[in-house]
């Protein structure tokens, strides 16, 4: 079925429009081809990565490069690249699927893979001229060359546009000389091409350049030593120094001063792909944990039979399930949006750029949510392993160390939290998402008398969907009041923005889990989806508490007196279930299933 423009939600609109379960894509919708890709990638992960885990942990950087080459031979590096430039042009869902299943063996490889296929290649496919694309992309798509992305500097991290690296035009106007220092550059040790951001004269914004790097003819480029890191130990991370590095003018990416835009847009794609990259890690952590818990006996009982462990298994499963649900939902939205734009006459390049940009809010939400879920999962994984989990002999400690970086790179989670709300407010001001109308309605509702009727909740998820609608009201109420109070100064109130973003994130994740499950229950029957239903309910229950906590803090921080009382009353009303789910029972049901299957099985 063709997707029509008006049917497809715009980025951020999930907050104010109801999504029907039939309209979300779920992992159960993978095509036969996608399933085959998934199996191929999983086999690669087992054979080439997991079987050699110790080499990655021993900082064998050359091995990372070797496995990257093998990934190139199998076509994994060119999945997202258009066919005209040597890639496979497989669509955004397939791109994400490969990224998901290739990333769980070790964070070292997943970082190398992500940095190369994402920020190392995408800036050229998205912003390059035809000549630049012809010249460089085929080499990157096949793994003949590897790419690195040089944005961060010692003094310019989250404030990326403040970099001090300079690009100076030569007298003959044919080249630029680049001078400066970049740091935390992934793949620096084995890259052949760098996307470098530098400032021309006193420009407000930085400019992007494609810089070739040949070890035998370094052109003023020197590399620092490998950094010694907490995790992702065999991912090459070095400083890169540019000393009069000559770059031909035709290697400028997009226009002068366009670098910051490139940097930000490349990161949008990077963010959702990072979420994808954390998903299979979560599944693997849970599988490893439950296998251990089924084997390990204390007090003559497998520890998986203890309620304390069941609690953990259930929470880990529910968060992995919600992460999958939300990530693939957004991935398909992006794919459909790109297709719509291509159909409307956009070039592939422009369609992809705008398609992803449209869902930048969701990309930030996913990056934050899934990177934190994988960290929590790894942490509980260690706890289930007990003392053994703390040992390098078991896989949990590496999983925990590797997960930690996901909260930092591709924009810290703090930056992404503030961005998600900031972008939403901007979209509302531009009229792309109508927040004002719904926010006004919520205010009217607050003044009115609440209904005392008891609705009919017999249909699956009817109460849960009503809860989601109410959580959306919490966001509109809190964010609406905060915008009224602070106007453009809102961005100065970071704690408030972060609280609002936590509400936003929980709404998107919980809604995605519910919609996926509802869709599957309609297709496969409620009995077949009993555990998935339990996971969706558990996730939502947790989401409600997070929303309540953040809503309360926000309201108290900016409202006083009657207004505060009214908003808190509203909040109470919006986070109240009519029938509370028995969360302990739900957790037991989820844990029993995971235990019986001895793996993450959804």
């Amino acid at each position: 079925m063709e997707t029509k423009d008006k049917e497809l939600l715009r980025g951020g609109q999930f907050l104010v429009k109801e999504t029907k379960c039939e309209d979300v894509f779920t992992p159960e919708d993978f095509s036969e081809e996608q399933k085959m890709m998934k199996e191929a990638v999983m086999e690669f992960n087992e054979r080439e990565i997991i079987a050699h885990k110790a080499r990655f942990e021993a900082k064998d950087f050359a091995f990372t490069e070797e496995v990257m080459r093998k990934a190139g031979e199998l076509g994994f590096l060119g999945v997202a690249v258009p066919e005209a430039y040597g890639g496979l042009d497989m669509g955004f869902v397939s791109t994400l699927l490969v990224c998901d299943y290739i990333s769980s063996g070790t964070g070292s490889f997943s970082t190398a893979f992500g940095a190369h296929t994402g920020i190392g290649t995408m800036p050229i496919t998205l912003y390059g001229t035809e000549e630049q694309k012809q010249k460089y992309v085929p080499k990157l798509a096949t793994g003949e060359w590897f790419g690195a992305y040089c944005l961060t500097e010692p003094g310019a991290g989250s404030d990326a546009n403040s970099g001090k690296t300079t690009a100076t035009l030569s007298e003959d106007g044919k080249s630029y000389k680049i001078n400066g220092q970049k740091m935390w550059i992934s793949n620096a040790g084995f890259c052949r091409l760098m996307i470098v951001f530098a400032r021309i004269e006193n420009d407000k914004n930085i400019t992007g350049f494609i810089v070739e790097y040949d070890k035998d003819n370094p052109n003023g480029i020197t590399l620092g030593e490998e950094e010694h890191k907490l995790g992702i130990r065999a991912s090459s991370t070095r400083q890169v120094f540019f000393n009069d590095t000559v770059v031909p003018v035709e290697n400028m990416l997009a226009g002068r001063g366009e670098g910051f835009k490139i940097a930000m847009n490349a990161l949008n794609v990077g963010r959702i792909k990072l979420a994808g990259a954390c998903l299979d890690s979560q599944r693997r952590i849970l599988t490893t944990a439950v296998q251990y818990a089924n084997e390990r006996k204390q007090f003559n009982t497998p520890i998986a039979d203890f309620g304390a462990i069941k609690y953990k298994l259930a929470e880990m499963a529910a968060s992995a399930y919600a992460g999958e649900s939300a990530t693939y939902r957004a991935a398909k939205n992006i794919e459909d949006r790109i297709a719509l734009r291509v159909a409307a006459g956009n070039s592939h390049q422009e369609a992809e750029l705008k398609g992803v940009e449209e869902y930048a809010i969701e990309c930030s939400i996913l990056k934050v949510a899934v990177s934190e879920d994988v960290q929590n999962c790894a942490d509980e994984g260690i706890q289930i392993f007990g003392g053994m989990g703390f040992s390098e002999e078991t896989p949990m400690e590496a999983a925990w160390r590797d997960a930690r970086i996901a909260r930092i790179y591709e924009g810290t989670n703090e930056i992404n939290r503030m961005l998600s709300v900031g972008m939403l407010v901007k979209k509302a001001m531009k009229g792309h998402v109508d927040l004002l109308g719904p926010a006004t309605k919520v205010q009217e509702e607050l003044m009115g008398i609440p209904s005392f009727e008891t609705p009919d909740y017999s249909e699956l998820f009817s109460e849960e969907k009503e809860m989601i609608a109410k959580l959306k009201k919490v966001f509109l109420m809190v964010a609406g009041a905060a915008v009224q109070k602070f106007g453009p100064d809102l961005e100065e109130h970071q704690q408030l923005l972060i609280a609002a973003s936590d509400i936003l994130i929980e709404i998107y994740m919980a809604e995605s889990a519910i919609l996926r499950t509802e869709k599957n229950a309609k297709r496969f029957g409620e009995d077949a989806q009993a555990v998935q239903i339990a996971m969706a309910k558990l996730y939502l229950y947790n989401a409600v508490s997070i929303v309540e906590k953040n809503g309360k803090e926000s309201i108290i921080s900016f409202a006083e007196g009657d207004e505060q009382r009214m908003l808190l009353m509203g909040l109470k009303r919006f986070v109240k279930y009519t029938n509370y789910p028995d969360i302990v029972d739900l957790r037991i049901a989820i844990a029993e299933k995971v235990k019986a299957e001895n793996k993450y099985c959804f």
Binding site: E32, E33, M36, A40, M90, V98
Partner: protein, 248 residues
Amino acid sequence: MKILVCISHVPDTTSKINFTEGDTKFDTTGVQFVINPNDEFGLTRAMWFKEKQGASVDVVNVGGPETEPTLRKALAIGADAAIRVNTAATDGFAVAQQLAKVVQDGGYDLVIAGRESIDYNGGMVPGMLAGLIKANFVTNCISLEVEGTNVKAVREIDGGKETVSTSLPLVIGGQKGLVEESDLRIPNMRGIMMARQKPLKVVEPVDANTETASVKFEKPAPKGAIKLIDPDNVEELVNLLHNEAKVI
């Protein structure tokens, strides 16, 4: 050289085995299916003949539509075309008769089958197929070289190896050794995309005699509880082994 590789669609080795309908049917719920490992060694060897000696490689399966993903995987690995004989694979002789028809219609010189499938472990099809099409037959084959129509094959025998010479047309029952596990191929992305465009022909079955029918399946008895006996209490141990376990 025209090669046909017979591909069985079997449960992954880690699957949980259960039966339904009064223990007469294998329960496929939640089971992941794969290419039979013995067949995959054969397919990988066939790809070598394709790449080094210009052979063509077709794959065949006798089974319902649910087996097509397994055939598509074989295409993604590099087979040229696939044939599915549209009938359930129940009895070894019936399957051999279906395959015989495919071999005769396709004029294949070499048929590579696994020595047995890892689901029902019949191990009968390659031999019966060779008999039906009057081809030579080597089973438990761990190495295979073809020069013109001359074949040198190595068989695994109890405690050693046997090298045999024979000629095409030939059916082999292959196994690990034809290639090693590390030689098995992961389908590449382009292969997966191209698999969609390669022919997968569905042919209707010929009338075939079914000589056997499953009556029921049984799983091995579950392991009993373990009794721990104090090392000082040897008498009790002997007593239990004699009277309860009845092993001494």
